[in-house]
Symmetry: C2
Subunit: 349 residues, 2 copies
């Protein structure tokens, strides 16, 4: 059995702090488990702007392309607000260059976590958002700006819609067999195309309950009745907004991982939150989002749900024992939470 190559992009502000935690857990969980890997740390985001002058250096991209999976912590921050190229551009470029057209963000609130939610929760919540990630208004042309006028273009074609829709339907087959397409088909031409293509595909999945929702209505349902969802499928910009809203109802942004993937090639795993400049360096960042990103990678890129499960159980245990960072109401440090999760993994063996 060869060694897997994992590209590691620690990024900016709290990025390196949580990456350290994620790699520690990866090391422990894979010990004596026939999972061998090498990591390669690469500059990315603001860090790469400072060192090399661009957010996504060629070498970083090349190594990512040749890896089996990519771990990313978080990038960006006020330091580069006036840089000629922003760190975020690196993120958009890596998504596009690696063809990571599907972004998958789980929202689930276990009974342990319900207390942290800002909403009053009655039923268990467990849905995922499948967001199109490499097209739409993020990438469409023409795009231009003068002092008087600016233009962005939201553009989709049938192939772009079909490939991400397929991921949503396949995912729903393994879950609660329900797909909700979110769009603005009462206004947008692109949304009408989404409805047409996805509606047709739904016929190939007769077991799946398929429905649609306008994006404004969906923004309401995520708050007042989130338990109705299983898989939400949506375009890039709507997915950006709704997935952050959905993350917020868990009340624990610091615990949510995500996966971005394409048809083939490496997938990228990262927390859904940003680089949190306000708490960088204080050692109090919640490492769980990064540690769960590692688990998601083990499960999805390496087919090792056994190892992922060990991580999830250890995390639940650390929360149950209230060894948590301030975002979850605790007083522990990043390193203490990480150590507790490591301990729980070791103990369970």
């Amino acid at each position: 059995m060869g060694k897997y190559q994992i590209a590691v992009l620690s990024g900016d502000y709290i990025g390196p702090e949580i990456m350290k935690a994620g790699l520690k857990v990866l090391k422990i969980v894979s010990e004596n488990k026939n999972f061998n890997y090498d990591i390669k740390k690469l500059p990315f985001g603001g860090d790469a702007i400072d060192k090399i002058g661009e957010p996504l250096p060629q070498e970083t991209l090349d190594v990512c392309k040749n890896s089996d999976a990519i771990l990313l912590a978080a990038i960006g921050g006020p330091k580069w607000d006036h840089a000629p190229v922003r760190p975020e551009t690196g993120l958009l470029t890596i998504r596009k260059s690696l063809g990571l057209f599907a972004n998958v963000r789980p929202t689930n609130i276990s009974s342990v976590m319900a207390a942290y939610s800002p909403i009053k929760i009655n039923d268990p919540i467990d849905f995922v958002i499948v967001r199109e990630l490499t097209s739409g208004i993020y990438f469409g042309h023409p795009r231009s700006q003068t002092d008087y006028e600016a233009i962005d273009t939201m553009r989709y074609n049938a192939d772009e819609i079909r490939r991400v829709a397929k991921i949503a339907f396949e995912m729903a087959m393994e879950r609660k067999k329900h797909v909700t397409l979110v769009d603005k088909a009462n206004v947008l031409a692109t949304s009408k195309l989404w409805r047409q293509i996805v509606g047709k595909m739904a016929k190939d999945y007769p077991e799946i309950k398929y429905d649609t929702s306008y994006v404004d209505a969906a923004a309401m349902k995520i708050i007042h009745d989130p338990s109705q969802f299983d898989v939400i499928l949506t375009e890039n910009l709507f997915g950006d907004i709704l997935s952050d809203e959905a993350a917020q109802i868990t009340g624990s942004l610091g615990t949510i991982p995500s996966m971005s993937k394409g048809q083939m090639g490496p997938a990228l795993y990262e927390p859904i939150h940003g680089s949190a400049p306000d708490i960088a360096g204080l050692g109090i960042t919640d490492p769980i989002s990064m540690i769960k990103s590692v688990a998601m990678m083990l499960e999805n890129s390496f087919n090792r749900s056994d190892l992922a499960q060990e991580i999830y159980l250890a995390i639940d245990r650390s929360i149950n024992e209230e060894i948590t960072t301030p975002d979850l109401g605790g007083t522990s440090k990043t390193e203490q939470v990480t150590a507790e999760i490591v301990r729980a993994i070791k103990e369970s063996r």
Copy 2:
């Protein structure tokens, strides 16, 4: 003193039910108060499609243009899903034709209402969203759709941004002196233009605290810390999504009015919710959103905050006495709630 002309568009499904309630309250509150008006009822939306073949007949538009204010209840519904022109098109056209470029939606949660909120509320919430309403991706060209590709265009110019921004700043001067521009300036060219124009205008209002937020972050803040907002200023599509999200955190969608206005000419007042086909005809629709729309009209188009205040107090009283429709946990009918509000107005005189 002449008579004001008020155009009345009752629309579809629950539309006529709540409009009846609104007009009843308008009649009572203006009795012996030196406020004279005539109403003119006009077909609009699905109703107009059925009667005349188009959602916004020329006569409806003409009368609206020559009125002092417009009351609209709600339009649309599944009945016209496959109509050649949708009811919603009428809404977009009337906004554009009357130059109603600013949509103002209040979100406030009084202590009486906090119990109905799906979120856990600590601090009082009182903000408004000022949404640009006649440009952006709703109206931009090119717009096209084939079976393979579709395109929408988000387009803004400096004048469109300036005029709506001015409304937001003026409004903030009368409120808590805080404006938050919501955009996606880390990705969109149009957002960069908004930042440029609005940032410059902020300098003309030194008393106002001015800040910015990305739309995805704003979608989170509306849930986890809504009391930080005073006036949120944003473009058309973001405003659509965020204002519905904001409405939802009040837990009482059935109670929220809105105003759409331009530089001059009549303003339009309407509930923020839709035509609720599922409860149409049951007589249980909450009339408060429509009644508050009437109050908002009296205050803003006719400078009669005295009458508006009478209405608001009467509404608070009916809620306090738990004479409410099912959306607020009550068992009263639309007509009973309306009668109670009428009674409270009369009694207070």
